[in-house]
């Protein structure tokens, strides 16, 4: 039996975190969340549309079953991220925050300096902080030292579906981490999720690949299996890889002998 995923003392059976953006309707999203088996779902914060004031994602998510993990998407610096985190708490979320500071709209890469600054402030204010970061082992350590609950290195840019392009650095992060490592961003196929778990990542976060699939609920189920397969393979212990062949059939008793 596998151990649960533990983040900030809280246990989760699922190692797949699901983002809720880009779904074509709340109903489609709801079915995908159920099919994914996820227990943590991320949300964002935006201004109320005054011509559509009743619109609410909360009507589609049972908050007694799922932990809502608000993000600070849209923040361009530490100050904006802290402001969004405080608003999320005021909006009724538990004080858990997926910290993301992405000043550059083209690649949405996280700003390491501002992320570290914001994390320090939010941890002092009692938040459970899960920072979205570049796959930078030193930054991951620095964040761990100040008390983040997990680190979330990117596989490739958000929404790019390019898979894990940062493999070597993520391996170093996993090797040194004492907090869960959640590979976030860019995972475009269940095989990418499986790869992350095979490497020893503790969990993955997926949004775009599921939300924009032809059948999001079916893709969510496929990601769930990818995550489970990857985790089981990691626990089973993968064989070593090498350049030359290693015969799998006996090398004795050939006909010519």
């Amino acid at each position: 039996m596998d151990k649960p995923l533990i983040i900030a003392g809280r246990a989760f059976r699922s190692r797949l975190l699901l983002g809720t953006g880009k779904f074509s309707s709340p109903e489609v999203m709801k079915r995908a969340i159920e099919a994914s088996g996820a227990e943590i779902v991320t949300v964002a914060l935006r201004r109320v549309e005054l011509d559509n004031p009743r619109d609410s994602i909360l009507s589609a998510i049972d908050t007694s079953k799922y932990l809502l993990l608000p993000n600070t998407s849209g923040a361009r610096d530490a100050g904006e991220a802290v402001r969004l985190a405080r608003l999320a708490r005021a909006a009724g979320c538990e004080p858990w925050i997926k910290l993301e500071v992405t000043p550059d709209p083209r690649y949405l890469l996280p700003d390491p300096v501002e992320t570290l600054k914001a994390a320090e402030v939010l941890i002092k204010e009692g938040f459970t902080v899960l920072p979205y970061i570049n796959a930078d082992p030193i930054l991951a350590k620095r964040l761990e030292d100040i008390g983040v609950a997990a680190v979330m290195p990117l596989g490739s840019p958000i929404g790019s579906n390019r898979g894990i392009r940062t493999r070597d650095a993520i391996e170093i992060i996993i090797e040194g981490a004492n907090v869960p490592v959640v590979v976030d961003a860019g995972l475009g196929a269940p095989s990418h999720a499986a790869e992350a778990l095979e490497m020893g990542a503790d969990a993955v976060l997926v949004n775009t690949a599921i939300a924009v699939a032809g059948d999001p609920a079916a893709m969510a189920a496929a990601f769930r299996k990818g995550v489970e397969a990857g985790r089981e393979a990691f626990l089973a212990g993968l064989g070593r890889s090498g350049k030359e062949a290693e015969a799998s059939s006996p090398l004795t008793g050939f006909l010519r002998q």
Binding site: G19, T20, G21, K22, F23, M29, T42, V43, A44, L45, R46, R47, V48, L50, P53, R54, D55, S56, I57, L58, L68, P70, N71, S73, R86, L87, A88, A90, A91, G92, C93, I158, G159, A185, L205, N207, T208
Partner: protein
């Protein structure tokens, strides 16, 4: 009186509390977070928080996101 809501200037003529302002906009106070002049209004204080001429409000809700 003239106030600013989510970056837009508007006229408000109702009773000068945030609870009344939100109701006039058909917003459920339990489903939003509000900043008044960059200070968060605590959820328990929504009803009684005053609304004064020149105030700037940010009214924020949760939406889908990664």
């Amino acid at each position: 009186m003239k106030i600013n809501i989510n970056g837009k200037s508007s006229q408000y003529l109702g009773p000068p509390t945030l609870g009344e302002l939100l109701r006039s906009l058909d917003i459920d106070p339990k489903k939003v977070a509000v900043e008044r002049n960059l200070r968060i209004v605590l959820p328990g204080m929504m009803e009684s928080e005053p609304v004064e001429s020149g105030d700037e409000f940010e009214i924020i809700r949760l939406v889908g996101g990664g």
